[in-house]
């Protein structure tokens, strides 16, 4: 199997997750097409995956905090880090409650993904099996799929109106 085929086949593993992202983007557009909501979700997810998740993994395992609470501290710590970060953004940007809730949920989901992805990367670190390209591409594709779902709603709505105008 060549590198490109391997990359594509592995990306296929994330198909269901990407479909969920697409549908989520579509539903957000259906619920409220204001771009601030989809952007909040997209940025929250990306920040969770790239910053909060890896950061919480580093805090847990370099400071040896995982030995407390029988190793179950990772969940409370992750939630605390996400909520405190979102609260700080809320304080600076003056979000509304809905936006705060969306940012919290998406950042938490991103942080969970980021934490476990970090452990997987650490496990594969120093080996030729680690696919650096996938490490970069996966978060990007996730967010682009979310935005694609959002944009599809606009496209579908525009197409519908266009077709409706033609038929009248």
């Amino acid at each position: 199997m060549n590198a490109q085929a391997s990359f594509t086949s592995r990306l296929g593993l994330a198909r269901n997750f990407l479909i969920v992202c697409f549908i989520t983007g579509f539903l957000i557009a259906l619920w409220n097409p204001n771009p601030r909501f989809i952007l909040t979700v997209a940025v929250g997810l990306l920040a969770g995956m790239l910053i909060l998740g890896p950061h919480s993994a580093v805090v847990l395992y370099t400071l040896g905090l995982q030995q407390f609470l029988g190793g179950h501290l990772r969940w409370p710590l992750c939630i605390f880090m996400v909520l405190s970060s979102v609260y700080l953004c809320n304080y600076l940007l003056g979000w509304k409650t809905t936006q705060f809730a969306l940012a919290s949920c998406s950042s938490l989901l991103g942080a969970v993904l980021g934490h476990d992805a970090t452990l997987a990367i650490l496990g594969l670190r120093g080996t030729p099996s680690l696919d650096g390209r996938m490490v970069l591409v996966f978060p990007l594709i996730t967010v682009l799929t979310l935005l694609a779902g959002y944009s599809s709603f606009g496209f579908a709505s525009g197409s519908y109106k266009f077709a409706e105008a033609l038929l009248r």
């Binding site: 476990d116 120093g126 099996s129 996966f138």
Partner: protein, 410 residues
């Protein structure tokens, strides 16, 4: 520190003597000769540690952390366990080889340093290792050299070394599994194992395999006895896969141990945070010898070393007269203390067996049957929690597995 280590090792090696050569008189294995090593003096007390293979049967848990270079070890037993660098860990995940010999303290959890020796198979997070087998000497020698030079063998170079080795020996393995060499030669390994019997009280052996000289020495004869099968397999698989009719000259063999003492004057301490309280391992590579030694409380627990003697091997048939002469010389002039070694060892072995049978009570499988034992085991678990350094755990194991598959090139 290196000079102190060298002195310590020198003192220990002065307390042992190399015995007469043992070879296959039928000529089925013409490139291997073993020289047993005996202690000049045997203390009355047997060791209070057991081998990894036995510990696995008694409840030691070795689990895959999902990290290529670490295996989580959970020792519920009230005794130390020796994990030798010669061991390959086998389970329902990719095979690992213990990086350097170390002691797992009683009732402790630790991250065992390992190398992956099966490139084509993914790690299975939290999969258990159920048994251990021998690691062939070429890989061990390479690991020792890398440890002495860099402190850790580079994983992809280990994989390259295994691939080349499998290719050189025409061993088929889809996943580039080093253990396939033992599987492929299992019948011969089994049938030839009785050519080199263990002798009572023996604590080690020097093997000449083609142009290679290898040493395996333990602090206690009981530990060698329990691991002798692995010691033999590790050397014999090399002899079987690299057939020739040559071995290193006996004179060279008798200079091997002094050269080891010289080589270990430049040694590197191998650090492992979770194992630092249970002994110290040092690696050395000099004067053409690479090796490693595990020392605990000033006592040598395990020493292994390798030397390639290029151009210094001769056909076994030519050396048989010299070896027979060495054997008769040994019979006439062997140290008098060895006359009582066999009896002293039998007494020690009896006590050691009694010690091991008591460990059965701590086996987790028995804890359901006895409330008393169950309580003891629970106490052990509670005590462990404060001392242990748990391995990183994912928030969601399935998610972790998904990322391992997603981010790992096949």
């Amino acid at each position: 520190m290196s000079l102190a280590f060298s002195k310590n090792l020198g003192e220990h090696l002065q307390g042992v003597v190399v015995g007469p050569p043992v070879y296959d008189p039928r000529g089925n294995l013409q490139n291997m000769v073993i020289y047993p090593i005996f202690p000049l003096e045997l203390t009355a007390d047997p060791p209070d540690l057991i081998t990894l293979s036995e510990a696995l049967n008694l409840g030691l848990r070795l689990t895959d952390t999902g990290v290529v270079s670490r295996v989580q070890a959970d020792n519920p037993l009230p005794t130390s366990i020796i994990a030798g660098e010669s061991e390959i860990l086998i389970g329902s995940t990719q095979l690992r080889s213990v990086q350097f010999s170390c002691l797992l303290g009683p009732r402790r959890k630790a991250a065992l340093p390992v190398n992956c020796v099966e490139e084509g198979r993914a790690t299975e997070y939290q999969a258990e290792f159920s048994r251990a087998d021998a690691c062939p000497w070429p890989l061990r020698a390479y690991k020792m050299e890398q440890l002495a030079r860099f402190g850790e063998p580079t994983q992809y170079l280990v994989w390259d070394r295994i691939k080349n080795y499998l290719s050189d020996t025409a061993t088929a393995s889809e996943t580039h599994d080093i253990h396939s060499m033992l599987d492929q030669n299992s019948y011969q390994l089994q049938s030839l194992s009785n050519v080199f019997p263990l002798q009572p009280g023996q604590v080690g052996a020097i093997c000449t395999i083609g142009q290679n000289l290898v040493l395996e020495l333990f602090g206690d004869p009981e530990i060698l006895e329990d691991r002798y099968d692995q010691v033999l397999r590790s050397a014999m698989v090399e002899a079987l896969t690299q057939p020739s009719d040559k071995v290193v000259h006996p004179d060279r063999v008798h200079h091997f141990m002094p050269h080891i003492i010289e080589a270990c004057q430049k040694s590197k301490v191998l650090n492992n945070r979770s194992l630092k309280e249970s002994g110290r391992c040092l690696a050395f590579a000099a004067v053409g010898i690479s090796g490693q030694a595990l020392i605990s409380e000033g006592r040598l627990i395990h020493l292994s070393a390798h030397q390639k003697c290029i151009g210094q091997s001769r056909p076994l048939a030519d050396l048989v007269p010299a070896m027979e002469s060495a054997r008769s010389n040994w019979e006439d002039h062997r140290p008098p203390s060895l006359d009582t070694l066999g009896e002293a060892y039998i007494r020690r072995r009896r006590r050691y067996n009694a010690f091991k049978s008591k460990l059965q009570d701590f086996s987790p499988s028995d804890t359901c049957d006895s409330s008393k034992t169950s309580k003891t085991h629970n106490e052990i678990q509670t005590a462990d929690t404060s001392k242990s350094a748990p391995a990183p755990r994912p928030l969601n194991p399935e998610l972790h597995k998904f990322f391992l598959r997603l981010l790992s090139r096949h």
